[in-house]
């Protein structure tokens, strides 16, 4: 764990779960796995609060526990899982694009609560959907649970490891911690539930709003009394599956950008690649460097309906794709009209390299990018060669080269002619080590997101008083509208915020939006770099 990552984790935990959880979580990330009492002692937090914080962290799958030999339970934080919190909006948005509003809400509830039983999810989502609907319409439980089953079938949600049922005749004291098991076969198995009912509106707008906080509590306790049909079977969002989806989308759009602008019929080659990826979605584990070989006949059959291209044209496209120097698609055999695979590892490598190139271009200018691409292409180059090949005056070329060298985008390899490493008798070769450059960039990304969050918090803190005021005014206006106040009165209250204040609020909102949007988009780069590094590490 680098310092930048820890810093980012700390900010994320604090924003999502408050300071106490942040303290415990960061302590666990720093020190590795620790037992309860040690955590309480080292952080100087009361045992009770540590327990609460750990419960929250375990609930959200951010901490796992393990029983050690002498019956001590140790808790360990999952740092990389904490960083995934940055990507929550993207997961939810993806679920929306794939499974519309119902899917969106299911994934959102699962992410908000860490893990939930299916019945609880279905109930909650149906209620929420009903609230957004017009009066008189309600959402059926069955419809929501259908979407849930579809999500499970496509592996976007999965079961959490569960506690195996133990016989009652278990002798001796119970173990200090339950042992959670997981089996591949049941991971996506949806329990047979007959959820009948409709989403309820939380309240019918007017009068029972007053008694709402009181009325809520007994209602929940009565809910708990009826037996839950799928008690103990918890579900969570399968983030790896989402990542696989993101990766496939990135590959498809890369192919579209590269190939489809040259071809007459637009989008065809990307559609071919999309079909291939969709066919191997379930058959290929997300960590494999290649997809399963697919014959051109199979691909032809699986093309989306209404896509009118002949088999010959498809074969031409496949050959074209296989001949492309980027090697996204490779030919693995000739049987069955030609077997084709998608080289996922290569594709990720190309995407990461393209990211590096564009960072160099935006940071150091296009001439530097030229040198960078040159070194990438020729692998090892001496300084003199760089100057010549790039056709840039020697002095400027050196300047650029050193700038990139000190920025760690380019690395230097010494090859001494004599064992004494005398500089006059040593070759200095410039190279691009993509893996280490990607790591460096990833580290910078973490740092910049942490900076963005800090800046956002600073901006909001600076304007805290103003924000509170505007919230208060809005609350008053809303409540007056509900009671049917006159237009003049409303206007009067609205004028409590002066014009300069309004302007200041606008600026703040714009800034915060920009910072938030940047966070999301930097995370996209993080995703690409992480996938590349992960896939490269797997191959070594």
């Amino acid at each position: 764990m680098t310092q930048a990552e820890i810093k980012l984790c700390s900010l994320l935990l604090q924003e999502h779960f408050g300071e106490i959880v942040e303290k415990i979580g960061v302590h666990l990330i720093r020190t590795g796995s620790q037992p309860l009492r040690v955590i309480a002692h080292d952080t100087g937090t009361s045992l009770d609060q540590v327990k609460k914080a750990l419960c929250v962290l375990i609930q959200h799958n951010l901490v796992i526990y393990q029983v050690h030999k002498r019956g001590v339970v140790e808790y360990e934080a999952q740092c990389s899982r904490v960083l995934r919190m940055l990507r929550y909006p993207r997961y939810i948005y993806t679920a929306k694009t794939l499974y519309s509003d119902t899917g969106e809400l299911i994934v959102e509830e699962l992410l908000l609560n860490g893990k939930m039983t299916m019945s609880a999810v279905v109930k909650k989502v149906a209620d929420r959907l009903t609230e957004t609907m017009e009066d008189g319409k309600t959402m059926d439980y069955a419809e929501v649970s259908n979407t849930f089953v579809r999500l499970a079938d496509t592996h976007f949600v999965q079961r959490c490891p569960w506690v195996p049922a133990t016989e009652n005749s278990d002798p001796g004291p119970p173990p200090p911690a339950p042992i959670l098991v997981i089996s591949e076969k049941d991971m996506y198995l949806v329990p047979k539930l007959s959820l009948i009912g409709k989403g309820k509106r939380r309240r019918s707008s007017d009068e029972d709003a007053a008694g709402e906080p009181k009325a809520k509590r007994p209602k929940y306790s009565t809910d708990n009394k009826e037996p839950i049909p799928d008690d103990g079977i918890y579900w969570q969002a399968n983030l790896d599956r989402f990542h696989q989806h993101f990766r496939d989308q990135a590959i498809v759009s890369a192919v579209a950008n590269r190939m489809d602008q040259f071809t007459f019929q637009t989008q065809t080659s990307s559609e071919v690649v999309r079909t291939m990826l969709r066919m191997s979605e379930i058959t290929t584990p997300s960590t494999d460097p290649f997809t399963q070989p697919l014959s051109s006949n199979e691909i032809f059959r699986s093309l989306p309906v209404g896509y009118n291209i002949s088999k010959q044209v498809l074969d031409q496209y496949l050959t074209l794709l296989a001949d492309d120097p980027l090697e996204f698609v490779g030919k693995s055999g000739d049987s069955g009209g030609g077997m084709y695979v998608i080289n996922l590892h290569k594709a990720l490598g190309s995407l990461a390299t393209a990211t590096l190139e564009s960072v160099v271009q935006e940071r150091f200018g296009s001439r530097c990018a030229r040198i960078f691409r040159l070194v990438l292409q020729k692998k090892h180059l001496e300084q003199k060669q760089v100057e010549d090949f790039a056709m840039i005056p020697a002095k400027e070329a050196k300047d650029m080269l050193y700038k990139m060298l000190s920025g760690n985008f380019i690395s230097l390899q010494e090859i001494p002619k004599t064992p004494d490493h005398a500089p006059s008798r040593t070759f200095y070769l410039y190279t691009v080590n993509i893996l280490s450059a990607a790591r460096m960039l990833l580290h910078r990304c973490y740092k910049s997101i942490a900076n963005l969050i800090e800046r956002r918090q600073f901006e909001t803190k600076e304007n805290k008083r103003l924000l509170e005021k505007s919230q208060r005014v809005e609350a008053i206006i809303a409540s007056m509208q509900a009671t049917g106040a006159e237009e003049v009165q409303l206007q009067e209250i609205e004028e409590m915020i002066t014009a300069p204040e309004r302007q200041q609020l606008e600026t703040l909102k714009r800034n915060v939006n920009k910072l938030d949007a940047s966070e999301i988009q930097v995370d996209e780069t993080i995703f690409l770099l992480e996938s590349y590094i992960e896939s490269t590490m797997k191959r070594q």
């Binding site: 327990k51 006059s424 809005e474 938030d516």
Partner: protein
């Protein structure tokens, strides 16, 4: 410009007969005391050379240097200069100090070398190029809205544990609007280690949102509550001692360990009990405020829209 780098070579102005020049040159530069000290013999030279691994990259091996020029006597400064830079005859002394051709690094003849930088880079460095605008589109806007909504929702979930805030002198009226009602959350104890679970399985077992422990309510605490507090404090102290003992016992043996655990659990139970008492005290206060809160509860939803 005076240049006392790591690879000075020889200086004709230095006292002669005192040994190899590079023997005097530490990683920090030329050391006058060392330079003027009598030589320590061949082995001492070698030792010193070995002591600075970084110097190896730049300086020749002390013995090799002599041999390299095919003579046992030390090379004259002029020789060194002509070896590294054949054109340097007219250049003067300063530039000749490097064993490699500094023109290869990009410095022309007669050019000044840049000064040594002795401060950290600026916090907000100027950028040569303006950043490109952010991606915009329907998806991006939606994700932005989701992110901001998610952040606010998280704060209202029972998982958000608030720190007990310090008491403000003036209780602000606006506080009532800010109050957030959280659902209770009871974790599934079957999935958690046993030590997580408070001993009493009562309604309040769940680590629900921490009630704001307002010290301002201290005034309304009755005498009995004070006594209870004291007892709790005492017990906490006792608890700490016990855990120390327990640690010692752990080393002792397993049976003892279990005993310690049980004791410990008892203490935990007590603690839990006390806390409940406290909470009841707070509960009373909360219910007292609840009457005035209807307004706030109503406006709760409206506030969501104005979130950043």
């Amino acid at each position: 410009m005076e240049e006392y780098g790591a690879c000075q070579g020889l200086k004709s102005s230095w006292p002669s007969g005192r040994g190899l020049a590079r023997e005097w040159v530490g990683p920090t530069g030329w050391d006058r005391n060392k330079a003027l000290r009598p030589r320590g013999g061949r082995s001492a030279v070698l030792q010193r050379w070995n002591a600075y691994p970084s110097a190896r990259a730049f300086c020749l091996h002390p013995f090799l240097a002599g041999r390299h020029f095919g003579c046992t006597v030390l090379p004259k400064p002029r020789d060194l200069v002509s070896r590294t830079n054949p054109m340097a005859g007219s250049q003067g002394r300063g530039r000749a100090a490097y064993t490699f051709n500094i023109e290869a690094v990009g410095f022309g003849r007669g050019e000044k070398l840049p000064d040594v930088v002795l401060k950290p880079p600026p916090l907000f460095p100027d950028t040569d190029y303006k950043p490109v605008p952010l991606k915009a589109g329907e998806g991006e806007d939606y994700m932005l809205a989701l992110k901001q909504e998610l952040r606010e929702t998280m704060k209202r979930m029972p998982y958000y544990i608030e720190t007990p805030e310090e008491k403000q002198d003036i209780e602000r009226y606006s506080k009532r609007y800010m109050k957030v009602y959280k659902e209770e959350w009871i974790p599934d104890w079957r999935r958690l280690p046993r030590e997580m679970m408070p001993r009493k399985k009562c309604k309040k077992a769940g680590p629900k949102s921490e009630k704001v422990k307002d010290t301002g309510k201290g005034a309304s605490l009755t005498n009995t509550a004070d006594v209870l507090k004291k007892i709790e404090e005492l017990e906490k102290r006792g608890d700490g001692e016990k855990s120390d003992e327990e640690n010692e016992e752990k080393e002792g043996g397993k049976e003892k360990n279990q005993e310690g655990d049980e004791e410990d659990d008892d203490a935990a139970e007590q603690e839990e009990y006390d806390e409940e008492e406290q909470e009841e005290e707070n509960d009373y206060i909360n219910s007292y405020f609840e009457d005035g809160d209807d307004f706030g509860a109503d406006s709760d939803d409206n506030m969501d829209e104005a979130t950043y």
